[in-house]
């Protein structure tokens, strides 16, 4: 075996990104940003139960300083792009790494959520695009007119259409699966694992996933049941 020197001319970030481990660190950090957004967004959305005035006031509050709004949007967009970019490259590596598949392969210890990240991710992306077109840009408005600034009306009108609600609920359940794995996996990717604390992290991830799913789907379910109108 001969030794060879590589990367003498490469910059360190480029080499870090080239390694699968580096990509996973990027996915962990961007995933953490998106995870915090998901929690904050849910807490904001739940104000729908406090009536139109409260929710619309919250909507206006977010837009008071456009610079802050756009900073947050740009950070989120950059996180989404890096997260997906790394995932696509890892998925490509996965396909290349096993050119001849198994005739039979059984899973022994892994959970469903971790094995389906490559499925829940792209479906969530499709959902986010639809969701932005529906409730932020107002390009798609199946349940009636989109009223700029009247967040409450747009939400209720949208969710009264059953398939919009069904798509939303389905996507949020997938988000739960994604968080079930991602919320503890991000610690593993940056090198934090301890026999005492990692089991707690895993349980916390499962609990948070359930709380987030219930928090989000309570809105379309309440609209469909006529509790919020």
């Amino acid at each position: 075996m001969a030794t060879t020197v590589i990367g003498a001319r490469e910059t360190r970030p480029a080499r870090f990104w080239a390694a699968t481990n580096g990509k996973k660190v990027v996915m962990a950090i961007t995933g953490a940003i998106l995870f915090l957004f998901v929690i904050g967004h849910m807490l904001g959305n739940l104000q729908v139960f406090e009536g139109p005035d409260k929710l619309n006031a919250y909507g206006r509050f977010l837009r008071i300083v456009p610079e802050i709004l756009w900073t947050v949007r740009i950070v989120l967009l950059a996180s989404v792009i890096l997260h997906i970019w790394a995932a696509v490259q890892l998925a490509a590596r996965k396909i290349q790494a096993r050119p001849v598949g198994y005739a039979k392969h059984e899973n022994v210890v892994s959970d469903y959520a971790s094995r389906t990240m490559y499925w829940s991710g792209p479906i969530l992306l499709a959902f986010v695009i639809f969701h932005l077109l529906h409730l932020t840009a107002g390009v798609i408005h199946p349940g009636g007119e989109f009223v700029e600034g009247d967040v409450y009306h747009n939400v209720v009108a949208g969710f009264q259409v059953w398939y919009v609600s069904a798509w939303y609920i389905f996507s949020m359940i997938l988000l739960g699966f994604h968080i079930r794995h991602g919320a503890w996996s991000m610690f593993q990717s940056v090198g934090i694992n301890h026999p005492r604390y990692t089991p707690i992290l895993k349980k916390a991830a499962a609990v948070l996933a359930v709380v987030i799913v219930l928090g989000y789907i309570s809105i379309p379910i309440s609209v469909l049941l006529g509790l919020v109108k």
Binding site: T3, G7, L90, K94, V100, N107, V109, S110, V190, N193
Partner: protein, 275 residues
């Protein structure tokens, strides 16, 4: 007892392989899986057929030579057991067992159930060692090692390099193997001075070999005959991050295969025996 073995037969790296089914009638339940293959191979040899090629050495579960998939699980259904230690009484009488080699691009198939695992050797050669000056051995106990560190290093050092982690991983990643080596050496005071360089080199080598990336699924730990925990992968990630942060230059030394063997292009086992 009787079993039916459905085994992947492939003459050489570049030929097409297929499953061939063999009945084995006189199986002693106390035989190991490999001894069952020995019995089958005696039958095949008597019939003038080519015996099934499989790798084996110590047959006591510590060398890491043996290993293949049995019914879709690396090293078979029994946890913490290599195929040489897996006795036939764990299977039902008359059961059909599907025997398949490890499948990964970094583990090119050589013949039947044997794959080329020298990618692991190159990962070790790239940094899986502790540099010591030669000379007389140091006095015992001059370097205190905390008991906990010794235990953790020993747990990681139990890795025998069989390749089951790669075989079971949906990504065909060798992170559990590489992580075990990095955790084993990095936990001990003797390994600390080279910690940063070791992590960068071994991770870079691992990524060059065409393994997939770890996505923290954890399937590897379920099949590992030495029950290496997922914690070692976190240790690898931690050391790699730390090493990148500390490094003062961008130079990484990796190991190039001496021949093109490992990529299968010049491997001529059957061609020579036929002529």
């Amino acid at each position: 007892m009787r079993v039916r073995l459905k085994i992947w037969r492939q003459k050489s790296p570049n030929t097409r392989g297929q499953f061939v089914s063999y009945p084995v009638d006189n199986v002693n339940p106390d035989m190991s899986m490999l001894e069952c293959l020995d019995v089958l191979n005696e039958q095949l040899t008597e019939n003038g057929e080519e015996p099934v090629a499989f790798e084996h050495d110590c047959r006591e579960g510590i060398c890491g030579s043996c290993g293949f998939m049995i019914n879709g699980i690396a090293h078979g259904p029994l946890p913490a057991t290599t195929v040489c230690q897996l006795t036939m009484r764990h299977f039902k009488d008359g059961e059909e067992l599907l025997l398949e080699p490890w499948r990964a691009r970094a583990f090119p198939l050589i013949k039947d159930l044997i794959v080329d695992r020298r990618a692991f050797d190159r990962i070790i050669a790239s940094g899986g060692y502790i540099s010591v000056s030669t000379g007389s051995a140091p006095d015992g106990n001059t370097l205190p090692v905390p008991k906990e560190a010794a235990d953790r290093a020993m747990d990681a050092a139990a890795c025998i390099g069989c390749g089951a982690c790669v075989a079971a991983c949906p990504n065909a990643s060798s992170s559990l193997f590489t992580g075990a080596k990095i955790a084993h050496l990095g936990t001990l005071p003797q390994g600390k001075p080279e910690k940063d360089r070791r992590a960068i080199r071994m991770v870079t080598q691992m990524n060059l070999e065409g393994f997939g990336g770890c996505t923290n699924i954890g399937e590897c730990t379920g099949v590992c005959p030495k029950e290496i925990p997922l914690e070692v992968i976190a240790a690898m990630n931690r050391d790699y991050l730390r090493g990148n942060w500390h490094a003062r230059d961008n130079v990484v030394t990796t190991i190039r295969p001496f021949t093109e063997w490992s990529y299968g292009s010049k491997l001529q086992i059957d061609e020579q025996s036929q002529s």
